[in-house]
């Protein structure tokens, strides 16, 4: 139970007035910087503010970084919901339902649910960290290439099932994403793929360039076609209570938050698992366990609550590889590790024994960060929602400028700006052809990991595919996947048959009625 006492000590250290003030400052700064498309992802925001935080004493600096991290994460959800621009990989799923809700004038409840489910999930995450750490640490070590490969296979299957009305168009979009994800030097063989000899493409295409092009600029281009004044403006809520989720929303989201919290924690605990996979798997599971899966994609509040819960309890899980192995679980924890190095603290499995005065307050402040966010941002939601009221002649140029600046600032490369323009055209064409862009983005994120882990596994097994069944965790995931697929196919068929028989019945009744009339 030493974890519990250490954690309590951590809270005691973190909760000094100075530390709390810096954390709040961090959360505000993180939200403000994160709201700009392009600068938006938490890792980039942390990197931008790194020189500032390094001027503070280590504990305070790291606590401020925890605030920034949460602020940026919330901002990522905000841009996805309000503007349909996912600035970080873990908020891509929010475009399915979050932005749909915004279109229905329910942006406020969507954002409120994102903050509240995030808070609940963080609580679950921190409690789980206290009690389930040994279990999750074991899982983290045992999760190797074959296990990741089947998890990615599961993920790609989900991309197809979430594609929407036309599976063919979903598949087209997914394969486009996989194709784009292969660009760059293959680390497994050192071969250049689709780089055309340009050093700018050596490390592949940045996620942000793709998402800004496909979503932000693509959307602007499509709307430009509509005659001015006729672009349907999103409704901003009028009454104050419309800004927050109501009891009905909570009732619908209860289960989703629970599922998301648990999934997020365990996936977060895998080194390299990350919040993207967490939010994505959570969305799919919430959808598949729902009584009304057909509501998803049309503005279901659970579709926001589930992934956002996972996205936040992941932070608790991500602390486990850090705690037990000294390994960062995500890009953001990497930046925090870098800060540790600059403070002269060597992160590693001994971090928590050698520097408990730094490690535990940071974990505590990661939790306090979600509270700060809740307290600060719930009242500010009405303000953020006003973004929807900005007239298009002003909003579109702002989005374009931010997109260009954002694309440039990722790697400081003007080439990326041209790439952004190319993807903007792609986004425009996809919209015109009614091909959904989300599968492309998801496949782009999952593709490289899927490819690499399959190759790693086959290398380990000397090209014997049985490795996926021989290892217990991967076999379990694989079998679960097959069961889910079979069940959902069966369910769909039954539904269709029932619909068909209902139709038949109506037809029969109709003919009978016609007959009697005759």
């Amino acid at each position: 139970m030493s974890v519990l006492t250490n954690l309590i000590d951590g809270f005691a250290t973190a909760m000094t007035v100075t530390n709390l003030a810096w954390m709040i400052a961090g959360a505000v700064l993180g939200t403000l910087i994160g709201i700009l498309p392009g600068l938006g992802n938490p890792a980039a925001t942390l990197a931008i503010l790194l020189p500032l935080t390094l001027r503070l004493p280590p504990t305070t600096g790291l606590i401020m970084m925890a605030g920034i991290y949460h602020g940026a994460k919330f901002a990522g959800a905000t841009t996805a919901i309000l503007l349909n621009i996912p600035t970080e990989t873990s908020s891509v799923v929010l475009c399915y339902d979050g932005h749909e809700l915004a279109k229905q004038g329910r942006a406020g409840p969507a954002m409120g649910m994102s903050a509240i489910s995030g808070f609940i999930a963080s609580t679950v995450g921190i409690v789980a960290l206290t009690f389930a750490a040994p279990l999750a640490a074991q899982l983290a070590v045992n999760f190797g290439p074959p296990e990741f490969a089947v998890l990615m296979f599961f993920g790609l299957l989900l991309v197809v099932t979430l594609a929407g009305k036309s599976p063919v168009k979903g598949l087209i979009s997914m394969f486009l994403g996989l194709l784009v994800s292969t660009v760059g030097v293959d680390i497994f063989t050192g071969t250049e793929r689709f780089t055309f000899g340009s050093v700018n493409l050596y490390d592949g295409i940045e996620f942000l360039i793709l998402t800004l092009g496909l979503f932000a600029v693509g959307e602007v281009l499509v709307n430009l076609e509509k005659v001015r004044g006729k672009v349907e403006k999103l409704d901003a809520p009028k009454r104050l209570r419309d800004y927050l989720p109501n009891m009905e929303d909570f009732k619908q989201s209860r289960l989703a938050i629970a599922i998301g919290s648990v999934i997020g924690f365990f996936i977060g605990a895998l080194p390299g698992g990350g919040s993207t996979m967490a939010s994505f798997v959570s969305y799919a599971v919430v959808k598949n366990t729902s009584k009304h899966p057909e509501r998803f994609g049309t503005g279901a509040i659970e579709g926001v609550a589930g992934p956002e819960a996972a996205n936040n309890s992941e932070a608790g899980g991500a602390m486990i590889p850090l705690l037990s192995l000294g390994l960062p679980g995500s890009a953001s924890t990497s930046v925090m590790l870098a800060a540790l190095l600059l403070y002269g603290v060597q992160p590693g499995p001994l971090l928590f024994t050698n520097h408990p005065e730094i490690a535990w307050p940071v974990i505590a402040s990661l939790y306090l960060g979600t509270i700060a966010l809740l307290v600060l941002n719930l009242p500010l939601i009405p303000l953020w929602v006003q973004i929807l009221r900005i007239p298009y002649w002003l909003l579109y140029p702002i989005i374009l400028i931010l997109a260009v600046v954002g694309a440039y600032s990722v790697r400081g490369s003007i080439f990326d700006v041209y790439l952004l323009m190319a993807f903007s055209v792609t986004g425009y064409l996809l919209r015109k052809l009614e091909v959904p862009a989300t599968p492309m983005l998801m496949a782009f994120v999952l593709g490289p990991e899927a490819e690499l882990t399959v190759r790693q596994s086959l290398m380990l097994s000397n090209n014997n595919p049985m490795i996926f069944l021989e290892r217990p965790i991967s076999a379990t995931i694989l079998i679960t996947t097959v069961i889910v697929v079979v069940l959902s196919a069966w369910g769909r068929r039954r539904q269709r048959r029932r619909a068909a028989s209902a139709a038949l019945h109506t037809q029969f009744v109709a003919t009978a009625v016609v007959d009697t009339v005759k």
Binding site: L46, L50, P145, N200, P328, S334
Partner: protein, 338 residues
């Protein structure tokens, strides 16, 4: 018709705006002169990794130590050009030639990247080599429960099971794989190389038993070794590692390092080609003083680096001999791939 025209004008205006903001970014390059002491204006420190990566942290540490010891009077911002393992950073410096206000933290990896990419826009030849400040000894780690007590044990087992044992590391063309291929050639053995993009999964692959060994720098393992999760079984190069005085070198274990350069990994500073002589002298002065500070020595010890200041012809020679011995190895790598 009017609406169509309007629409067109609208779209054109926005396209123009995008191009203008793109143009504004490219125009943001400044020309830094040097004063009579060769001191440049605003110095920017180019690195080949993103925030938190090896060279990024290294550059920030240098700036921190130099500032603390009053060797420089203002912060040097770190600029990331991460594509292609140094290739983007080198072509960036090439474009900046001969400006004195850009320097870069470069490693031996940059030479390998150049050798791997015949079409590279810029290579180490396009740089002004300022000084090497540290070398990074390479060592072999195995899981704590591994049957291998020495590197010789591992080699013996690799002989018994050709092509079965697994070494874990970074990209296929990285220095650790190149060095391992040479050792395999020298000892008549063969084993597999498992690539991971990030450091974390490499360590877990060892702990899980998917891989049997890893070749890396002391910082890659030191914390895990201290925690009793990993063990060091051999050190490359001429000297034992100060932190692991009981671990014998490859040569002591009878493992040939023929054909490998004396130093596999180093950390050095370079600038754009044709940098003014006065500026080079200024930087050398700063870095040679920095390597003598107590802060620097502490940092070197913590990171398992060996402080070694080399500049001028000696540095040119080191780079030259590294290139000469690596060229056939890169060829070996390409043939192993086929």
């Amino acid at each position: 018709m009017k609406t169509f025209l309007q629409r067109q004008r609208h779209a054109a205006a926005l396209a123009l705006l995008m191009l203008l903001s793109a143009g504004a970014i490219t125009a943001c390059t400044d020309n830094g002169g040097i004063d009579k002491n060769g001191k440049p204006g605003e110095v920017q420190f180019v690195v080949d990794t993103g925030p938190g990566g090896g060279s990024d942290v290294f550059a920030r540490q240098i700036v921190k130590i130099a500032l603390a010891n009053k060797l420089i009077d203002g912060n040097w911002p770190v600029l990331s050009r991460s594509q292609g393992g140094g290739l983007a950073a080198m072509s960036f410096l090439k474009q900046k030639a001969p400006q004195p206000d850009y320097i870069a933290a470069f490693t031996s990896k940059w030479i390998i990247s150049g050798l791997n990419t015949p079409s590279a826009e810029a290579t180490v030849k396009d740089l002004t080599l300022i000084a090497q400040v540290a070398v990074e000894p390479q060592m072999v780690a195995v899981p704590a429960n591994s049957p291998y007590k020495t590197m010789a044990d591992f080699i013996a087992d690799a002989k018994a099971k050709p092509g079965q044992l697994v070494q874990v590391g970074g990209a296929y063309s990285s220095v650790d794989n190149l060095a391992a291929l040479k050792v395999q050639e020298n000892t008549g053995t063969k084993w597999k190389y498992l690539s991971f993009a990030d450091g974390g999964p490499r360590i877990t692959a060892l702990l899980r038993g998917d891989a049997q060994m890893m070749l890396g720098a002391q910082t890659d393992f030191s914390e895990e070794v201290a925690a009793g999760q990993l063990r060091i079984i051999g050190v490359m190069g001429k000297h034992r590692a100060p932190k692991f005085p009981d671990v014998p070198t490859f040569a002591e274990q009878g493992i040939s390092e023929d054909g490998l350069p004396d130093v596999l990994q180093w950390r050095a500073i370079a600038g754009p080609a044709n940098m003014p002589v006065a500026a080079v002298a200024y930087y050398r002065d700063v870095f040679s003083k920095m390597t003598q500070t107590q802060d620097w020595r502490t940092y070197m010890d913590e990171e398992g680096l060996v402080s070694e200041y080399v500049a001028g012809p000696a540095l040119d020679q080191r780079v030259q001999s590294f290139t000469t011995s690596m060229t056939p190895m890169v060829r070996l790598l390409k043939s192993a791939n086929k």
